[in-house]
């Protein structure tokens, strides 16, 4: 049985942990609002971009000769996976969910005897993946310095992906990120960005466009931009998810700490009372024996 002093110290330490988690929860809540807002504001851009590309690719007659970014290289030997995680921990299952999703995809690829290359964005993903897939990671990017997700960073990643594609280093590129649904639910997503997956069933416009300059030039200019845009979208969703996940994790931690304090306080009071009772018995029996 722990002594009274030990219990007292224990209660104090749990209480101070609770204070920290509570503060982290507040900070995450404040950041979440901002991140969520920018994720929502960023959606129209990527949606519009997608629409234009959809319209464009429908309008193109000669599918064979279009940009490789749209039609693919014709092979599916080398897979590039961009795994996007956070730079900070203490956010519940946020990072492990993405990693889990990515790992199951990796093992599927390895089972099919295809080559795998990994780019990790965010240091936490790198930490978790480098043990098993260390030699597969070709690049590790981290944006610790930038406070919020910004387009400039996304563009850097996008340009890197395109560079590698043009150098023929991979055939298919998939990005992994958490889609923000609400504070408690984030859905890990795997989205293929090269070649572009276009759902043809959504063909609602038969309207022909006028192009200036011609379709091919527009497409070849637009597709690289679209990759950066998709990555940026993923970054925004990710940062909202991260804050949401951290908020609920810290909320849980605060509640657990509260429960622990209650339990310890009861134990403390019990043993205090037991000590008093023991002393009383000793005094009384001492008095009786006189």
């Amino acid at each position: 049985m722990a002594s009274l002093d030990d219990l007292k110290k224990r209660i104090a330490s749990v209480k101070s942990t609770q204070k920290i988690t509570k503060a982290m929860k507040m900070v995450a809540a404040a950041k979440l609002r901002k991140a969520q807002e920018s994720a929502e504001k960023g959606r129209p851009y990527s949606e519009k971009m997608n629409n234009i590309i959809l319209n464009l690719s429908n309008g193109i007659s000669d599918k064979e000769n279009t940009s490789k970014l749209l039609s693919g290289t014709g092979n599916d030997k080398v897979h590039l996976c961009v795994v996007m995680t956070s730079d900070r921990g203490l956010c519940g299952g946020f990072n492990s969910n993405i990693i889990k999703k990515a790992k199951s995809y990796f093992s599927k690829i390895s089972a099919e005897d295809k080559e795998l290359k990994i780019i990790t964005v965010g240091s936490k993903g790198n930490d978790q993946l480098k043990r098993v897939y260390g030699e597969k990671i070709i690049e590790n990017i981290s944006f610790k310095e930038s406070k919020n997700a910004n387009y400039f960073d996304a563009d850097k990643v996008g340009k890197m992906v395109i560079e590698k594609f043009e150098a023929g280093e991979f055939d298919i590129c998939t990005i992994f990120y958490n889609q923000f649904k609400n504070v408690i639910t984030q859905i890990p997503q795997a989205q293929q960005i090269v070649p572009l997956n276009n759902e043809e069933d959504e063909n609602n416009s038969d309207e022909s466009y006028e192009f200036e300059p011609d379709e091919d030039e527009i497409l070849s200019n637009l597709l690289p931009k679209n990759i950066s845009t998709q990555i940026f979208k993923a970054m925004l969703e990710n940062s909202a998810s991260e804050q949401g996940s951290r908020m609920s994790a810290m909320d849980n931690a605060t509640r657990n700490a509260g429960e622990m304090v209650d339990k310890l306080t009861i134990e403390y009071n019990r043993s205090r009372q037991a000590a008093i009772t023991k002393e009383l018995i000793e005094i009384i029996s001492g008095a009786e024996s006189l």
Partner: protein, 130 residues
């Protein structure tokens, strides 16, 4: 009959501007300035560095853009761009910084013809603004 149509400018971070009462927009399209009125044919085009001018009931607004895509369809004009500034709000210093950046870019020799053309355009436009 009204002669107005809708304009939306979005950049990656947010929806930059949305207007319903626009009568004419002049955009710096890749192959030259292009004026768009109501019931223009559906068009997709690129922007080169230049000035977007929006004429609406509430007045004239000018924006400086560096790149982007315009899409016009069903009297909806969407402009997607990653760098846009309202000329009334932007400070002179900012434009000068941009000019300096563009000039540095232009002095690099390895750029191909197209990027060179775009950089030259940028410098020209910025010089006219400063």
């Amino acid at each position: 009959m009204s002669e107005e149509f809708k304009v939306e400018i979005v950049n990656p971070e947010k929806s930059f501007l949305s207007k319903e009462d626009v009568t004419e927009v002049v955009v710096p399209a890749f192959e030259g300035e292009m004026g768009i009125l109501k019931d223009h044919i559906s068009i997709i085009s690129f922007l080169k560095p230049g000035i977007i001018t929006i004429y609406s009931k509430s007045g004239v607004e000018k924006f400086y853009v560096e790149d982007g895509i315009v899409e016009f369809k069903n009297n909806n004009l969407s402009i997607l761009t990653s760098s846009i500034f309202n000329l009334n709000e932007v400070e002179k210093n900012k434009l000068q910084d941009l000019l300096k950046l563009a000039e540095e870019e232009g002095s690099k020799s390895e750029a191909n013809d197209q990027t060179k053309y775009l950089v030259d355009q940028k410098i020209e436009v910025l010089k006219s603004l400063n």
